[in-house]
């Protein structure tokens, strides 16, 4: 009888532990993920650009500038990633930290950037923990949580591995 009670208690404890583990895996806060701050900008073609409109997609949010050489190196790989994974739900968004729009517009046309680009603000940069050096790129999951932050030019393979885990 005592042995049976002990077995039931152990089984209940085990069950509780499994439930806790399962729920914490599903809870982004338990994984240390924080929500990506929403923003409302207008892209270079005049359309509204809200991060929240891309909920349900995997987002690569790239803070860059036309005068930043490492940023420029990354742009062709973002164009290629957008082409390759758009059907699986990838959306790349470019936030230029240029001080004016004209060079960004020229750059976008010259490089035939195939994803929305808007000029950012210091306030938006603050929301993302400060953009005090470029490039800085965030990978955001389908639920709108920041999964990773990359400072400096980052190889396309790194992004590819990360987004494939999120599809």
């Amino acid at each position: 009888m005592t042995q049976r009670k002990i077995a039931i208690i152990v089984a209940l404890l085990l069950l509780g532990w499994l439930v806790l583990r399962w729920t914490s895996r599903r809870d982004p806060r338990a994984q240390g993920l924080r929500p990506a701050p929403d923003f409302a900008l207008t892209d270079l073609s005049g359309r509204p650009l809200h991060l929240s409109d891309y909920r349900g997609k995997v987002v690569i949010l790239d803070f860059w500038a036309t005068w930043c050489e490492p940023c420029k190196e990354e742009i062709p790989q973002f164009i290629a990633l957008q082409n390759k994974y758009s059907e699986r739900g990838l959306q790349i968004l470019g936030i230029s930290m240029d001080d004016s729009e004209a060079p960004v517009r020229q750059f976008q046309e010259r490089f035939k950037m195939n994803y929305p680009v808007a000029v950012g603000t210091p306030q938006l940069a603050d929301q993302y923990g400060g953009v005090l050096g470029l490039p800085i790129t965030f990978v955001i999951d389908r639920e709108g949580h920041i999964v990773s932050r990359h400072i400096g030019a980052t190889n396309a393979e790194v992004f590819e591995k990360e987004i494939q885990r999120l599809f």
Partner: protein, 156 residues
């Protein structure tokens, strides 16, 4: 015979000049420039007496970056890689004595990729300024200044 006797003397002269000259660093291009480490600047700014002299601090990078965070007391000049930025720099220093201690900084990108500090440094050199240094920011202003806990000012 005479040429042979000159060679060791030249070698010694070269050695002495390389040891005692001001440290030089390579920037985004091949320009040699005098640099200052962030910790050195912090101690100069923190010194209570007037020695060493306090420099004029000019941020020659992006305004977007300056508004987010800059070295307290520094002035926004404009991007060193634009004609407007260099023009503003020229105007700002036009009435200053050529020996004024000036520190330039940017921090937009890794040191080897910064497009702004070299043109600004060269412009001041061409204008005859003799006491100009560039803050050596190896990664970016966030990593090498803000994250180190050095004091920061924000806004215009």
């Amino acid at each position: 015979m005479r040429r042979h006797s000159l060679l060791p003397a030249l070698a010694i002269l070269l050695f002495i000049s390389s040891v005692f000259s001001t440290p030089l660093a390579r920037g985004a291009d091949s320009t040699d420039m005098k640099t200052l480490q962030p910790a050195e600047l912090v101690s100069i700014l923190a010194a209570k007496n007037s020695k060493p002299a306090k420099p004029l601090l000019f941020q020659v990078g992006s305004h977007m970056l300056y508004v987010q965070a800059h070295v307290p007391g520094s002035e926004y000049i404009g991007q060193g890689n634009t004609p407007e930025g260099l023009q503003h720099l020229g105007k700002r220093v036009s009435s200053l004595p050529k020996g004024t201690f000036i520190v330039l900084y940017c921090g937009c990108c890794p040191w080897s990729h910064c497009p702004n500090v070299n043109p600004a440094y060269d412009a001041l050199k061409q204008l005859g300024f003799t006491n100009v240094k560039v803050l050596y920011i190896s990664t970016n202003f966030g990593a090498d200044w803000v994250d180190k806990g050095y004091s920061v000012a924000r806004g215009e």
